[in-house]
Point group: C2
Chain length 431, copies 2
């Protein structure tokens, strides 16, 4: 027995177009595998006269978005426009009209996720968003379903393909930031205004969503301190490499404490990853998410984080799940998200890398080490590079708080024997 489920789509850009094409190609297989007959009933677009790559029945395209959101002949709404305030109204309208919604809109969820999830529960419908983080990688479903009972400790993700492409190029070719940015723009991997990617804002929204889903709490992008890659230099990458690390832009989400309410820390920053770590092998524009849990141990999911067809594949998985629920009149509402207890950024902890240009004379190391110690930061390793006026000390610390590390850096900068405080990075360690 096959049930027909009618999709209303808002937006038909790269992902929307790929989704419609995929539904057409896979229609019969989906029906055979799930018993659901998917129909693209209506698509709201800004310009109905614009030529489209996919062939559509007459009357499918409309420029009246309400013909999708509130129409009696639409069972399920897919929002693929982007932006925040307009999609927020649309998703609210669709949920309020009793329709399940699938979206790939990370900015919307990072800003207003809680309100929308609550609305979905109130109306007994589903709000699915696999495509919002890490494109085709089935991360959301893994966190929400497979790992729902898992004591997740930490999730670290390479969730922005543009910056991973750029850092990979800098690592492999020794090129400088400006060079690889220009190259990435020429290849279409980076936008003309690359700010959202290179300053980490894209990853920031994704970190908020990962934290919300992994820990069942409400976090917004405003809770996520962010540092991008525009200050990463070829020298930093070479220094990291000499010590056995590669530099990756990571979204890091951690839980601390033994019992609820746990403290949650979410942040985005360039990070030194040991070359033997699975995340270090993720090259080019690929994404990967590394999960550490008290029972499951180490888990990594790897794949395409962007692009029309990979992202449409994730949207389609959600569409089929929501459609199956509609076909069987079976919704499984989740409890509301709880308030997050956000760990103050200065209290979050990490191992650190720090390099210092110093006077190469007896007693300097003792003085420098004394500053670390006085501020509660314990040194794990130190290496001197160069001699005389060129001498640089590279330190890796044990786990320390941001607060203690900031105080250490401030005091080191004030020493007369320290000529320059160079780069500092968080470091993934086993501690």
């Amino acid at each position: 027995m096959t049930s027909t489920v009618r999709i209303g789509l808002v937006g038909m850009g790269t992902v929307g177009g790929a989704l419609v094409q995929l539904v057409q190609e896979q229609h019969d297989d989906i029906a055979a595998l799930t018993g659901v007959d998917l129909v693209v009933q209506r698509i709201a677009v800004a310009d109905v006269t614009k030529p489209r790559a996919v062939v559509l029945e007459p009357g499918v395209l409309t420029d009246a978005v309400d013909d999708v959101l509130a129409a009696d002949d639409v069972d399920l709404v897919v929002e693929l426009v982007g932006g925040v305030e307009q999609p927020r109204k649309w998703v609210r309208a669709a949920l309020s009209a009793g329709k399940s919604v699938v979206t790939g809109n990370k900015a919307l969820l990072a800003a207003h996720g809680r309100e929308l999830f609550d609305l979905a529960v109130d109306h007994g419908v589903e709000l699915l968003f696999e495509a919002s983080v890490a494109g085709g990688i089935p991360l959301m479903r893994a966190l929400q379903k497979s790992l729902r009972g898992e004591p997740i400790e930490r999730v670290m993700g390479i969730v922005n393909g543009t910056t991973n492409y750029m850092l990979s190029s800098m690592t492999e070719d020794g090129a400088d930031y400006d060079e690889v940015l220009a190259e990435a723009q020429a290849l279409g991997y980076a936008e003309a205004d690359p700010t959202a990617d290179v300053e980490g804002h894209d990853a920031q929204a994704k970190a908020a969503i990962i934290a919300s889903v992994a820990f069942g709490v409400s976090l917004t992008d405003g809770d996520v301190p962010v540092q991008g890659i525009s200050s990463v230099t070829a020298t930093d990458i070479a220094n990291a490499r000499r010590l056995g690390y590669v530099i990756k832009l990571l979204a890091v989400v951690e839980r601390s404490g033994e019992r609820a309410p746990y403290e949650i820390s979410a942040r985005v920053h360039p990070t030194m990853v040991p070359i033997g770590h699975p995340l270090a092998t993720v090259r080019g524009s690929f994404n990967a998410v590394f999960i550490e849990g008290g029972a499951v141990g180490e888990l990594m999911l790897y794949g395409r984080g962007a692009g029309g067809r990979p992202t449409a594949s994730a949207v389609l998985g959600d569409v089929i799940e929501a459609a199956t629920g509609i076909a069987h009149h079976s919704v499984r509402p989740l409890p509301a998200l709880r308030d997050a207890v956000v760990r103050p950024p200065e209290a979050s902890t990490s191992a650190f890398y720090l390099d210092l240009a110093v006077d190469d004379q007896p007693g300097v190391l003792a003085e420098v080490a004394g500053v670390f110690g006085a501020n509660g930061v314990s040194i794990r390793s130190m290496e001197q590079e160069g001699l005389g006026a060129e001498a640089t000390l590279a330190f890796i610390t044990h786990r320390a708080s941001e607060r203690d590390m900031a105080a250490t850096i401030e005091k080191l900068a004030a020493l007369s024997s320290v000529n320059r405080v160079g780069a500092h990075y968080r470091v993934i360690s086993d501690e």
Copy 2:
């Protein structure tokens, strides 16, 4: 609002014990995240007097399995015993009594999956089995839900930790098969009788399950040709490495044809994996599954394939999903599996590696190459190692059928200039 769901467990070995412990530890978090209050109501074991590592309420343990399978105060049955015929009866009894079932039993599903899935559909209950393949890695849910609309082309998995540990040791230490087997046995990674692992039978059952789930067809372990790792030598590994490959035992599942009914091929064999391929980086006892789809592109899931707590984590994810369905009276039955059109093993295709000990004299290569060509096998690369009586030719072919490759090998062996046909392996290539 919280709904109580009562679990009946059959078997309390390593995984069962870890599951009970995890349910106890995570009970409150699970209730907060899902609204389900999980209770371990009853556990059937062979010996109720045996001391147990977890603390249980009096009356929970029983040696009467029917007190679990058919009891009115059990909502959900978890089978964690292993074997085939007894668990088959138990799972049938539980499903027939209207209870959803969670199992990690790969042998049972590879032999009788279709019958059990049909029974679940008939009784309107769920049969979940995430833990049966690749332990803690959320592969089954990814294939069944996230990728349900994806045109999956191929799935290749390192799904046996013992053999991956052994091959990794051989690769990294240059050790021989017998040495690493003894070491793996000493460390508890391999059993006293290692046949099921090293001859590939464990991976064979998992390949049948992966094929069934990925393509929605019924395949049994009897449909999966298997070759283990006991014939892999240190020399083979060194030869592979020189050419830029590592040898991994892979379960490979492929679909061919453009429209349903597709031909399905599933097989298990040692395989040469290019060192730049994500599967090549999977070391030690870790598992990983690499998925290629027409829309999603390349996807890899990596993690712990065995062990009490990782496997229990996967079981717990299924328990929570089934319990949520029970709490909300919401079951989403799947259509029955279809018959598989199994591609005849001799028609399945791959690139191949083959080495030959030959007389080092003019004309031999032409003669050998002529045999490849006459049998329809196209050579991609050839390298000579050694000189004179020691000369070895190592070939890598383009994609060819098993049938053509077998004919080529037979004809080569008959040439007077070929002193010995050495090892041959399937090779992962981009074709």
